[in-house]
């Protein structure tokens, strides 16, 4: 199921402002790719452009190619809705639907798309997804309670369960642990390690230890100054990035000599 994504010469704009310039990168299937870099350098923007969530913002657009298994996601005949069905996303802040129960939140991807499914199949899917997100044991007795009643870490795992319930090929995570305590963070990192058996995972993180712990490859984004576009400075296996990076800027950033 997991798929490979090739990005070539991707320029990302907000209106006339060039936010990220000429990104070239290959994201390997069944692995975790981490994106690190200072705030405002375009990591999240780049991540959102991978499943065409970027263009939800008025005036936002991209130039260049994002190819998943031979198909350009920005081709004129591609519906962004179909792209997002294949490339799921988990956001920085947990955002379960407040009107829905835990069960309905997990089933939301199917329910909202009006897919017909037998009740027993749906029950199975919900249980499988919640187990996949390591949340089943904590919520199995209160599936009909509102999702917003869970703790922050549980809510975030609920959002992950919701994202994997629609069986995407790729899972994008935009700083999924930045609002969580260390224990919940550990739970989600363990979960990512399990999930990479089935999905291609791309994660944006401000936590370099996290990138070092979980990822196979790491990309370092940076920008040369305020108002300048962000660039992908270096993309290498994580071990290399954190031991002997090719670029001086990368070394400065990961060793804390930044700015």
């Amino acid at each position: 199921m997991a798929k490979r994504i090739d990005v070539s010469d991707l320029d990302i704009y907000y209106g006339s402002f060039l936010a990220v310039q000429s990104v070239n990168v290959s994201i390997e299937p069944r692995s975790i790719t981490a994106l690190i870099g200072p705030s405002g350098c375009g990591k999240s923007t780049f991540l959102r452009s991978l499943n065409r969530m970027h263009e939800v913002i008025p005036g936002a657009r991209v130039e260049g190619k994002v190819v998943m298994d031979g198909q350009d996601l920005y081709g004129s005949d591609v519906d962004p809705v179909d792209v997002r069905r294949q490339i799921g996303m988990v956001f920085q802040r947990p955002n379960p639907f407040p009107t829905m129960s835990i069960y309905d939140n997990v089933a939301a991807g199917l329910r909202l798309n009006a897919k017909k499914m037998r009740k027993s199949d749906l029950d199975d899917l919900v249980e499988r997804s919640l187990r996949g997100a390591n949340l089943w044991n904590e919520v199995k007795d209160r599936l009909n309670r509102p999702g917003s009643g869970l703790s922050g870490g549980q809510q975030q795992r609920l959002c992950i369960a919701r994202a994997i319930a629609v069986e995407p090929d790729v899972l994008l995570m935009d700083e999924p642990c930045s609002a969580l305590d260390p224990i919940s963070t550990l739970a989600i990192e363990d979960l990512m390690t399990e999930l990479k058996e089935r999905f291609t995972i791309v994660i944006v993180t401000h936590n370099m230890q996290q990138a070092a712990r979980v990822s196979e490859s790491t990309g370092f984004f940076n920008l040369s100054g305020v108002g300048q576009p962000g660039r992908l400075i270096e993309f290498n296996p994580t071990e290399k990035i954190f031991s002997s990076p090719d670029e001086k800027a990368t070394e400065d950033y990961i060793s804390g000599r930044f700015g």
């Binding site: 008025p58 997002r84 799921g88 996303m89 956001f91 407040p98 917003s148």
Partner: protein
């Protein structure tokens, strides 16, 4: 995050922090007592010049504020005294704002309750001269016309609000917002004349229909619905929309299944309050619906009666003797107030029962 800085807590450790040393403070009952003393003084003053209730209240409030201020200034210091002065002013402003409201409700209750009987709800004015009669026809007319108005305005207003929040961009959105703002301010008689002119185009100037009134009221109600539902829809966090998009849900379905359910409580309140806003309109109904003594429940056939217009005519053309008609006018006014209050209660209930549950 309440840090305990009450004077007695501070007083327990006076030695350690001289900046927080305890100040002399008036006892808890003192402000009320001092104010009461001022009021008594005021009463005495007004009694000396020939007693009058208005003067007593005015003197009392001014003197009470003054006494409290002066004493607080001597005992507690300038800052506290000023605090007490402003508290008095704010409370007075609130009292003044409440005077017309309470007086209005009281007057209407006092005068209206006299005819609040079974006959008022059961009979129309058909063949009634003088005593008796009722507003059955007007109550039914008001309900029918308001319902029609809601049927016209709610879909249009809600869809317009959804367009403005979810789809509209650039010049068209700004133009619509501007026009809605302008429409919110048009005088209600203009709305009535608009509906009248519209129907007169087809059927001549003598036409009076219930539906004309509904159209006129819709002109007034649509902008209110658009404005308030727009604000409610804007409150739905963008994260929920993005979460839905990220699951591969199309935009229209996101609006239908995520945005609207999340904001249903606010939308219900908005619509109910908009209805309450138009239910008592008189001028547009006067020129479009008119009045009839008998009961007409068909808004597409001839004149109808409505409570506001009923009250207007009972008051302005009471006949001989005038008292029974004037009583009927008061009761109609009372019913309108009850109707508006009921709608407000309904709005509150809607927002309580449909608000998203937190589960805690």
């Amino acid at each position: 995050m309440s840090t305990d800085l009450r004077p007695d807590a501070v007083a327990a450790t006076p030695a350690r922090n001289p900046a927080l040393r305890s100040r002399r403070q008036l006892p808890r009952f003192a402000p009320t007592g001092l104010f009461g003393l001022g009021v008594l003084l005021g009463a005495g003053l007004s009694a000396a010049t020939g007693f009058s209730l208005t003067l007593t209240v005015v003197y009392g409030v001014v003197l009470g504020t003054l006494v409290l201020y002066v004493v607080a200034r001597r005992v507690e210091g300038g800052r506290k005294a000023f605090d007490r002065l402003v508290t008095c002013l704010v409370t007075c402003a609130f009292g003044i704002a409440m005077v017309p409201l309470v007086s209005l409700v009281w007057t209407v209750l006092e005068n209206g309750v006299r005819r609040l009987d079974g006959e008022f709800f059961n009979s129309s004015m058909l063949g009634i001269v003088g005593e008796g009669g009722g507003a059955y026809h007007a109550i039914a007319g008001t309900l029918i016309i308001t319902l029609l108005t809601a049927l016209i305005s709610v879909p249009i207003g809600l869809l317009a609000a959804i367009y403005l929040v979810e789809y509209g961009t650039g010049r068209l959105k700004r133009a619509i917002t501007f026009l809605v703002d302008v429409m919110t301010g048009i005088p209600s008689i203009v709305a009535g004349l608009f509906a009248f002119a519209l129907f007169a185009l087809f059927s001549g100037p003598s036409i009076r229909l219930g539906i004309m009134g509904a159209v006129a009221l819709s002109v007034l109600m649509i902008p209110v619905v658009v404005r308030s539902s727009e604000e409610v829809l804007k409150l739905v966090p963008n994260e929920l929309r993005e979460a839905s998009y990220a699951l591969g849900v199309p935009k229209w379905r996101t609006i239908l299944r995520v945005v609207l359910p999340t904001s249903i409580a606010g939308l219900g309140t908005a619509v109910t309050l908009a209805i309450a806003r138009v239910v008592g309109e008189t001028a547009p109904l006067l020129v479009t619906v008119g009045l009839v003594n008998g009961t007409n429940l068909d808004p597409f056939d001839g004149r109808m009666s409505t409570l506001p217009v009923f009250a207007f005519y009972q008051l302005t053309q009471p006949g001989v003797p005038p008292e029974p008609a004037i009583d009927r006018a008061w009761t109609a006014a009372l019913l309108l107030i009850i109707l508006v209050m009921a709608l407000n209660v309904v709005a509150r209930l809607i927002s309580r029962f449909f608000a998203p549950k937190t589960g805690r």
